[in-house]
């Protein structure tokens, strides 16, 4: 590498090796050239969901060191605090060692070890009966799974619609808000154009999501002097280095964004040309109150939406590139009165209720600041445009000599998502981006392939018909386009255990994992037999209302049977959820397994080209554990699920690695897109390549394809890109993707609420559907804020995971827990002073759902109406290999205890899941609290406390001293 070009993100001249790296002759006996590793394996990190490339250095059969892969498109050589602590995760004393069968009461932690054969027999017998009778009685939910294309397909082959991963309690509002609006979204679906943007707005990013790409990107912006504006109640992490920190009041981001839109519209600072070319701004909307198609698009005889041509003074196919469509006005076409979408947009957001002065107090942001930011957005978008000297052709064949860009970009995540108004707020942020003409342009927000897809993308969710011994006719999770796609029966009863795609949560694209335990316990909408879960801490920090959730997991019916009859759980560690399982399937660590990070799943593409990656075992397990995906494949074969057996009934795949290479979802398309075809020369589509995994390993564990220069922008309408996307199988036709400012699918739900169509909501729920399925984004007070006495509960309460733990399940990590082992409640100095509190006081944090005790830390960098804490630091005694005196279970606390999992009863007495009414996204951040100084004798320890779990059999106590690495030195010095 001496003469090669510098590689990786940290390759500035001031970050390179010395010009002469020969060791000086110091004569102090220091060994400056110890041997580092016997081998280096390149695989993919799993310390969070970022999926960076890592180089794992193996020495003397152990992991010596892990560093970032310089060639990897996600992290370009850098590595975060979690990734660098992978050794401690891999060698954690909390690792499970063998399959376990419950021997004591559920929740006690009393188990006996069993062999894998017995574990498989128990699971097969139980699941086989379910499949032969009522397949829906298996609920399979997979937490922070990165293999959802396998697990979802397994569920569908089993024949149960009751499948989802953790998206419903994480960020489905962002995914759904984006996919229904622009056919893409943040994070895995798109990213800011870090190299060209001049003005970057970061909304509600709680320390991470995603990790290294944002950090690399922010450093580029800072180096270039681009402006970074953060909108976040907390001034930590990324927000600490923003040029402009807007300490917004939680849940009001939508109002703030609408005020920006209000200002931009009033000043005529929107990109009309962009709106006509790439959005439905000009599409005519029928205005005929009472009609069954009121609010739907006016369509021609070919069912294409139409616009009004200003020149021809007639209706015209809205997609006609020759059209000169009107954006404003009111027109009568074939006797129907219609207005363009843009007219509705202008009518709504130019209303004075969205003026900066009207929203300033509620947002906690001065009106002048809102006006200033609107002016800055307009200035950068319209006066600082950039042009790349690259010719490209759009979908209609029009050639453009350059690629023009408006260099404003945005990123948003959890702080937007985790409110009951998050879906509409997410749509608002996309609307703002689209009005400025900044989506997939140089300097703007860029799609990552396989996105964009049509808004919404297909397919629809399956599960209307469930029959014994029969696979579903598609995938359990998908995108509904109207009430007919809902999974409800004639009586409006939800068909899924989590009530996804019911009137409770019509656009529940990721399911509602957070409702499963309550619903299964209550038998609402029906009883299940087996709850199978993977990698999600549902008896602790992944559930709301922890205390009651634990009670539901252990509750009995009158006959002494558990109300949730059987729980199968797979985890690599002794988490708080393991003791509630009847059968425990011990998983491997991320360094001991195969995985694929697939374009069929949650891809790791870059805006400059698609990519995917693998994990492969770099160390052998030293315990009787198996990778969950291989276990699932074997279970599928034992059950005889059609996709998992050959015609003769034999197992189709020997393990996950075999599946990764040989499975084809549709002919030529499999889990991995790189090196397909017999000779490995094809990408995207191609025959199975038996040597595919080796090709990945040889390439450093990943595959990445760079776009040609003319394919990189305007992907929603770029001929060359669209053709490539069809060839890769990302989309079925090379047609433009139209951004949906106005969402027709949402209006269809409203029409049902007004009494139209075959599938209509129950009478009592019509008003709710009418209100929240608004086809244009709007703002409403988050549910808990609207329901509680604000005098009594004056504060918002939030959580975030610290950067060094984000998405990194398990604070048993010996190194990371030294950085944070007790979470404090952060309180603004002024707020504390008003309450008579001083630094380090112990307080009760009380909500309408209960109270929890913790210690406060006073800060200035927080919205004064808000308190917050680090999430999931508090642990239950007996879990994660922690000692009884660990700070996590004595002084750390879990805010989840006081977050309700249900809303207050509505006028009809119905309690909904504490979720967004559109998507079912868990509304963690709606929480309202008060804080009260606790009595002197109560200080010093957290409450509530929980009984200590018993330890699994044959698990050695965690060590009292850790000398990791001493052996490398001993061996090194022995050689010398």
């Amino acid at each position: 590498m001496k003469n090669g070009a510098p590689r990786g993100a940290n390759s500035a001249p001031s970050q390179r090796p010395l010009a002469d790296t020969r060791a000086p002759d110091e004569g102090d006996g220091v060994d400056t050239s110890p041997k580092v590793s016997d081998s280096i394996a390149k695989t993919t990190c799993y310390m969070c969901a970022c999926r960076c490339g890592i180089d794992v250095h193996i020495k003397d059969g152990k992991v010596r060191y892990i560093n970032g892969n310089k060639d990897h498109p996600v992290n370009r050589g850098v590595i975060c605090g979690k990734g660098s602590s992978g050794i401690m995760q891999h060698y954690s004393p909390a690792r499970l060692k063998k399959p376990l069968l419950r021997s004591g009461p559920r929740g006690s932690g009393e188990f006996r070890e069993i062999e894998w054969e017995e574990a498989f027999s128990i699971a097969t017998e139980r699941l086989s009966k379910i499949r032969q009778t009522y397949p829906k009685k298996l609920a399979f939910f997979t937490g922070r799974d990165q293999s959802q294309s396998l697990t979802g397909w397994w569920a569908s082959q089993f024949g149960t619609p009751n499948f989802a991963a953790h998206g419903g309690f994480c960020s489905v509002n962002m995914a759904a808000g984006g996919l229904y609006t622009i056919g893409g979204s943040f994070w895995e679906f798109g990213e800011p154009d870090w190299d060209n943007t001049k003005y970057f707005m970061l909304f509600g990013v709680a320390e991470d999501h995603d990790s290294n790409p944002i950090k690399i990107g922010l450093s580029k912006l800072k180096a270039r002097g681009a402006k970074v504006v953060s909108i976040n109640p907390c001034r930590t992490g990324y927000n600490a280095i923003a040029d402009d920190w807007i300490g917004i009041r939680p849940g009001t981001d939508g109002l703030f964004v609408f005020a920006l839109i209000h200002e931009l519209l009033k000043a005529g600072r929107v990109d009309l040309d962009y709106l006509i070319r790439y959005t439905n701004a000009h599409v005519l909307v029928i205005q005929e109150p009472g009609a069954a198609d009121d609010g739907l698009f006016l369509r021609d005889s070919d069912d294409n939406p139409v616009a009004w041509d200003r020149v021809a003074k007639a209706s015209i196919d809205a997609a006609d590139p020759e059209a000169k469509p009107a954006l404003t006005g009111s027109y009568t076409v074939a006797g129907r009165r219609c207005v363009p979408v843009f007219q509705l947009v202008a009518d709504r957001y130019m209303d004075d209720s969205y003026a900066p002065d009207a929203v300033a107090a509620r947002c906690g942001i001065p009106a002048d600041t809102i006006r200033r930011i609107a002016a800055e957005l307009a200035h950068v978008a319209f006066e600082q445009t950039i042009e790349l000297p690259v010719a490209w052709s759009d979908w209609a064949g029009r050639r453009h000599e350059t690629i023009k860009g408006r260099p404003v970009s945005m990123h948003a995540m959890r702080g937007i998502s985790a409110h009951s108004n998050g879906f509409h707020t997410c749509r608002a942020i996309h609307l703002l981006q689209v009005l400025l003409g900044t989506i997939d342009v140089p300097g703007g927000f860029r799609f990552k392939p396989p996105y964009p897809r049509s808004a919404p993308p297909g397919p629809k969710p399956c599960g209307k018909t469930v029959k014994p011994m029969t696979p579903l006719d598609g995938v359990p999770l998908g995108f509904v386009c109207g009430p007919d796609d809902l999974l409800v029966d004639e009586a409006c009863t939800p068909l899924r255990i989590d009530k996804a795609y019911s009137w409770d949560a019509p656009l529940a694209a990721h399911g509602l994992m957070h409702t499963v335990i309550r619903n299964a316990w209550a038998g609402d909408p029906y009883k299940i037999d087996t709850l199978m879960m993977y990698m999600s801490n549902m008896a602790w920090n992944s559930s709301m209302n922890t205390v009651e959730t634990i009670a539901m997991l252990t509750d009995h019916d009158g006959a002494g049977n558990y109300k949730i009859p059987f729980i199968i759980y797979s985890d690599a560690y002794y988490s708080e959820t393991v003791p509630f399982a009847d059968l425990v399937l011990p998983d491997t660590t991320y360094l001991e397994r195969h995985d694929c990070i697939s374009l069929l799943d949650r891809p790791i593409s870059h805006a400059d080209g698609p990519g995917d990656a693998i994990r492969h075992p770099v160390v052998e397990p030293d315990r009787d554990v198996r990778p969950f995906q291989s276990v699932l494949i074997e279970l599928g074969a034992r059950l005889g699920l059609p996709g998992f057996v050959n015609d003769d009934g034999s197992a189709k795949y020997s393990d996950y690695a075999d599946y990764i290479v040989n499975h084809e979802r549709t002919p030529g398309i499999g889990p991995l897109a790189g090196w397909r075809g017999k000779d490995g020369e094809a990408i995207g589509k191609g025959e199975v390549n038996p040597n595919q995994l080796q090709r990945y390993i040889d390439n450093g564990g990943f595959w990445h394809q760079d776009f040609a220069a003319d394919q990189r922008y305007y992907k929603m309408a770029n001929r060359s890109y669209l053709d490539f996307a069809v060839q890769m199988g990302f989309i079925s036709k090379a047609e433009p993707i139209i951004f949906q400012l106005y969402s027709e699918p949402m209006q269809r739900f409203r029409l049902a609420a007004r009494g139209h169509g075959r599938v209509q909501p129950p009478e009592a729920e019509r008003e709710r559907i009418e209100t929240y399925m608004d086809p244009l984004p709007f703002w409403f007070t988050p549910f808990e804020e609207a329901a509680v006495d604000l005098e009594k509960y004056p504060l918002h309460a939030l959580t975030q995971r610290p950067m060094h733990m984000y998405h990194s399940w398990g604070s048993q990590n010996a190194w990371l827990r030294q950085i944070t082992s007790q979470n404090r409640l952060f309180v603004h100095h002024q707020t504390a002073a008003d309450l008579g509190l001083v630094d380090d006081d112990w307080v009760w944090i009380e909500s309408i759902n209960g109270r929890v005790k913790g210690q406060i830390k006073l800060v200035d960098g927080v919205n004064a109406d808000t308190v917050w804490t680090w999430n999931a630091i508090g642990k239950r005694r007996g879990s994660w290999g922690l000692k009884d005196d660990a700070a996590e279970s004595n002084r750390g606390f879990l805010l989840n205890h006081i977050i309700g999992d249900q809303t207050s009863a509505d006028a009809n007495g119905k309690r909904y899941s504490n979720s967004d009414p559109v998507t079912g996204q868990a509304a963690w951040f709606d929480l309202r609290v008060r804080i009260v100084k606790c009595a002197d004798e109560e200080a010093g320890f957290t409450e509530p406390q929980f009984e200590r779990f018993s330890q699994p059999p044959n698990v050695a106590p965690s060590p009292d001293i850790l000398r990791y690495g001493a052996e490398f030195r001993v061996n090194r010095e022995a050689v010398e």
């Binding site: 001031s14 090796p17 850098v78 402009d244 609107a374 010996a814 030294q818 965690s958 990791y964």
Partner: protein, 242 residues
């Protein structure tokens, strides 16, 4: 009493950019991970799973809130040995265990000579020394002396582990004694500073201060409502007709 070299050929050190540090702890654990198997291995952790956990770390990040006339800000501050030119931790050492290399200026500890008296940790005003109670010797940042010259690493990897890891590119490495070096140029261009220069130990490592807050850095004229007849909608119509 241990003597300092009269002159060092190089002044190797780190430059840390407080303007981009987000406090992510990547440098902290990358350092721990490399060094726990490195020159001073191990970086022992006492009670790693218990209540009074106490580990050896060569690099730690602290977060501070700071109030200026322009308003408050949060500063993340990585702290490790500054490899001072005249370090008290060396001169105070009674055995010669603590020493400064004449070749490159790195301050190291010879464990075989360390008697664990802790005078050096009392002398260091930066809190950069870490006592390993398990073996009774003092340990500290080696500037990855076993990486930067390591023939067993690819040449491009011969930088301190913290510099290689940092996801926000906030860490830099080089010869601060050479005014022409890239790090010296960076310090000059960004107004890099010494920590507590009044102590007189002449730290080699430099910190780049956070840039002035730039809340109003975009010189955007105030937005005015469109003056066209018919207001905004009239403006839209005229724009489309052009």
């Amino acid at each position: 009493m241990t003597c300092l070299p009269a002159h060092t050929d190089k002044k190797l050190g780190l430059v840390i950019d407080l303007d981009t540090c987000v406090g992510c702890q990547a440098c902290v654990t990358a350092c721990k991970e490399w060094n726990t198997g490195g020159h001073m291995a191990p970086l022992t952790d006492i009670h790693p799973y218990g209540g009074d956990v106490d580990g050896v770390w060569f690099n730690r990040v602290h977060s501070y809130e700071h109030t200026t006339e322009a308003g408050g800000r949060t500063v993340n501050f990585p702290r490790s040995c500054l490899h001072c030119e005249t370090p008290a931790c060396v001169t105070v050492c009674p055995t010669g265990a603590s020493y400064k290399r004449a070749s490159d200026g790195i301050v190291l500890i010879d464990e075989s000579k360390c008697i664990g008296c802790k005078l050096c940790s009392w002398a260091c005003p930066y809190g950069a020394r870490e006592f390993d109670t398990d073996v009774g010797v003092m340990k500290k940042c080696t500037l990855c002396v076993d990486r930067i010259y390591n023939d067993n690493l690819a040449e491009e990897d011969r930088v301190p582990a913290c510099v290689a890891a940092c996801p926000t590119s906030a860490r830099h490495f080089g010869d601060l004694g050479d005014p022409a070096s890239a790090v010296s140029q960076l310090v000059a261009s960004r107004g890099g500073v010494d920590l507590m220069p009044e102590m007189g130990y002449k730290p080699t490592n430099k910190y780049l201060p956070p840039r002035a807050q730039r809340a109003a850095s975009v010189a955007a004229p105030r937005l005015e409502p469109v003056k066209a007849e018919g207001g905004f909608l009239g403006w839209v119509d005229r724009m489309l007709s052009n």
